[in-house]
């Protein structure tokens, strides 16, 4: 079974090829999936790190797999990369069975592992040369060094690089064989904001060359910015897989209004407001609603007991919440609601609503 490579070669491929009927698993663009995983299981003792995972990834997209620590992200990646053997299930990468022909697959994929590891006493250029020699075909070493902006550091020992430079080298090594499919395992973990932005640019560059990138991350803003599709993995299973907007529309609809908890305001009472779906109070109050205007109106209502001037009044007013109030009160203007924040749903909300726990837990 031939596979149309997603790289530049695609434009040279005869159109016929893409028009040809393909077997059952087909991507939107009529190609076989870059990755096709069916019923993957990996156990460590009694614990199933990966528990019946099935999904497929189409060509040319950035695909991200957030999940809490220990959710099975890295294990899944390592099985797909041919680094681990699953207890059950099948894995096809670029149309080839990874378990049966790992070397064939490895020629065509690029891998950046979570822990960056290079041989000791090796300089940057030497590291690129070494990895280039491990593949049947590789890109020119200088070109790779330039592309990742490592020219100045080409003669530096790899253990003298900064975190960001090391990560760029690590990604450069993953691309030295001009792979069709690139795996990046937490490429920005532990980097400062500047270096992270830099890596984002690098990843966007890879994406522009129409290579499929699979990356794992703890950072939801990273997923939203870089990824076409996001899979959320929890306890060894994929609990959601879709584009970020659709994930948000489905799992974190509505608008969230956050503010500092005010004396005299009973968060539970907010549930009665229009469109409210969720109220969380832990120092800050977080109200998720489909009618943000109505909720905001109620919160900022100068007649609401928490907005009345004077501490004594406010405390006294607790029992009278929602009462008639009367016109002239609340001369303080703006009321007592502080640190007000109104935002739409994010992938972080999706994650929380799907797994019931925080990502960095």
């Amino acid at each position: 079974m031939s596979v149309v490579p997603p790289g530049p070669a695609r434009s040279e491929a005869p159109g016929m090829m893409r028009a040809e009927p393909m077997p059952a698993r087909r991507g939107m663009r009529g190609e076989m999936a870059d990755i096709d995983v069916q019923g993957l299981v990996k156990r460590y003792g009694d614990v199933a790190a990966v528990d019946g995972l099935s999904f497929s990834v189409e060509g040319g997209e950035v695909y991200e797999k957030p999940g809490p620590n220990g959710a099975g992200k890295t294990t899944t990646l390592e099985i797909i990369e041919g680094l681990r053997t699953p207890d059950a299930g099948s894995v096809h990468v670029l149309g080839t069975d990874v378990l049966a022909h790992p070397q064939t697959v490895k020629e065509r994929i690029g891998v950046q592992l979570q822990a960056t590891a290079l041989p000791q006493f090796t300089k940057v250029r030497e590291a690129v040369e070494l990895f280039a020699a491990l593949y049947r075909k590789a890109r020119p070493v200088d070109e790779v060094i330039e592309e990742f902006n490592l020219g100045e550091k080409a003669d530096a020992y790899t253990d003298k690089l900064s975190g960001g430079q090391m990560q760029r080298l690590s990604i450069a090594l993953a691309l030295v064989n001009d792979p069709d499919l690139v795996f990046l395992d937490e490429p920005t973990t532990g980097l400062d904001p500047q270096a992270r932005l830099n890596i984002w640019t690098v990843i966007e560059g890879i994406r522009q060359r129409r290579k499929t990138v699979v990356l794992t991350t703890h950072y939801m803003e990273e997923a939203e910015r870089l990824c076409d599709r996001v899979a959320v993995i929890d306890r060894g299973r994929i609990v959601a897989l879709d584009t970020p907007p659709r994930l948000i529309a489905e799992h974190a609809p509505g608008t969230t209004i956050e503010f500092a908890l005010v004396p005299g305001l009973d968060p539970e009472a907010l549930r009665a407001l229009p469109g409210v779906e969720r109220v969380v109070a832990d120092g800050r109050v977080s109200v998720t609603t489909r009618s943000p205007e109505a909720v905001l109106h109620a919160l900022l209502d100068p007649h609401a007991p928490w907005n009345r001037a004077g501490d004594a009044d406010r405390v006294a007013g607790v029992g009278a919440a929602g009462g008639a109030g009367g016109g002239g009160g609340g001369g303080a203007g703006g009321g007592a609601i502080r640190d007000l924040l109104v935002r739409n749903g994010t992938l972080e909300d999706v994650f929380l609503s799907l797994t019931g726990r925080s990502l960095r837990e």
């Binding site: 090796t122 070494l130 990895f131 020699a133 064989n177």
Partner: protein, 362 residues
């Protein structure tokens, strides 16, 4: 073909990294040179120094010539004394042997009397020094008798044909064996464990390179590092310390290669049972240090207790050391070191086979 390219690139990287690893170099080549300096200072490069007393019961010119021949051997100091004085010296260990020249020695040498025996008396005996002294005397005596004169023999001739080996001549092959031992175990084995615990092996595994290629590159890279160090060591030994090789240089290759292979193999065994580089280091030290002292590097194996000798003779360092000393000190041919090479080859094959079978990427 592509796997050969991968192998070559990895082996080159291995050698380059090893040469850059100064700490490890100090531990192997540096320490070997230091041992040679210490030996050089202790013995002043003058070779073995031994003292004899001679009791001359035959005051003929022939007897005088014989004593003169003995004195002319470098490192020998010889004094003619009375019988009582000479044996007193022997008793308080100020000489290692007393030679007694019998009456009629001159006549026998001149072919005018019955053959005579030179008596050699030692206290206790069995030390390396007395063995060397016996050989010296035997050589001189044989040389004397060699002038067509079977009339003179030595009372207790020891028949070991040995060159006049200086301490430096002895220590050079020992230090070659030392480098083989420490580099083989440390560079290769600990290098491999470190690659495993730091996930370098896992990173290689994500490429198409095979486990066999990784292992082969580690072995060959390690062996090349050993060879480079030996070249430097031999150059220093010969040009700085004046050590001599009495044998064929090419004959050093089999014991060096096979010795290295067997220690790389032992190193791999250590690798396969060590989870961390700390435990690998500890195990490597437990193997290398006793081996260093048990295997004839600093003193001959024959001076060790029998049980220890038996253990030493099972382990490959004794065989490597024996082969290197035989070639460099005794000028032995290949037939003399064949057994040594076979034993080392067996060690190498078994250990490397076990190591490949037990190889773990992570």
């Amino acid at each position: 073909m592509s796997s050969f390219r991968a192998f070559r690139a990895m082996a080159i990287n291995e050698v380059r990294a090893s040469v850059r690893n100064r700490t490890a170099l100090i531990f192997t080549l540096g320490l070997a040179v230091l041992f040679m300096i210490i030996f050089g200072l202790l013995f002043g490069g003058s070779g073995v120094s031994v003292s004899f007393d001679a009791v001359n019961n035959d005051r003929t010119p022939e007897a005088a010539a014989y004593l003169k021949a003995l004195t002319s051997v470098s490192g020998v100091s010889l004094h003619t004394k009375s019988h009582a004085a000479a044996f007193s010296d022997l008793k308080d260990d100020s000489v290692i042997a007393v030679l007694v020249i019998p009456k009629g020695f001159g006549a026998a040498v001149a072919g005018q009397g019955p053959s005579q025996q030179v008596g050699i008396y030692q206290a206790g005996g069995g030390s390396a020094e007395t063995a060397i002294s016996d050989e010296l005397v035997a050589n001189v005596t044989a040389g004397f008798a060699g002038r067509g004169n079977p009339a003179v023999t030595l009372s207790a001739p020891k028949v070991a044909e040995v060159n006049q080996v200086t301490e430096m001549d002895y220590i050079l092959p020992s230090m070659i064996a030392y480098i083989i031992l420490f580099s083989g175990v440390n560079y290769v084995a600990i290098g491999l464990v470190e690659k495993r615990v730091t996930h370098v092996l896992r990173r290689f595994r994500a490429t198409p390179v095979s486990a066999r290629t990784v292992l082969a590159a580690q072995v060959v890279g390690g062996a090349l590092t050993v060879l480079l160090q030996i070249l430097v060591l031999v150059a220093i030994g010969i040009w700085v310390f004046g050590a001599k090789n009495y044998g064929n240089w090419l004959l050093l290759i089999p014991p060096i290669v096979l010795g290295t292979a067997s220690f790389v193999g032992i190193g791999f065994l250590i690798t396969s049972i060590s989870r961390t580089s700390e435990s690998a280091r500890a195990l490597a030290a437990m193997v290398t240090f006793p081996l260093m002292f048990l295997s004839g590097l600093f003193f001959p194996i024959s001076s060790l207790p029998t049980v220890v000798q038996t253990i030493a003779r099972i382990l490959p360092l004794a065989w490597a050391s024996d082969a290197l000393h035989q070639v460099m000190n005794d000028g032995a041919g290949f037939s003399a070191i064949g057994t040594d090479c076979l034993v080392m080859a067996a060690w190498a094959v078994v250990t490397i086979a076990v190591a490949s079978w037990r190889f773990r990427w992570d």
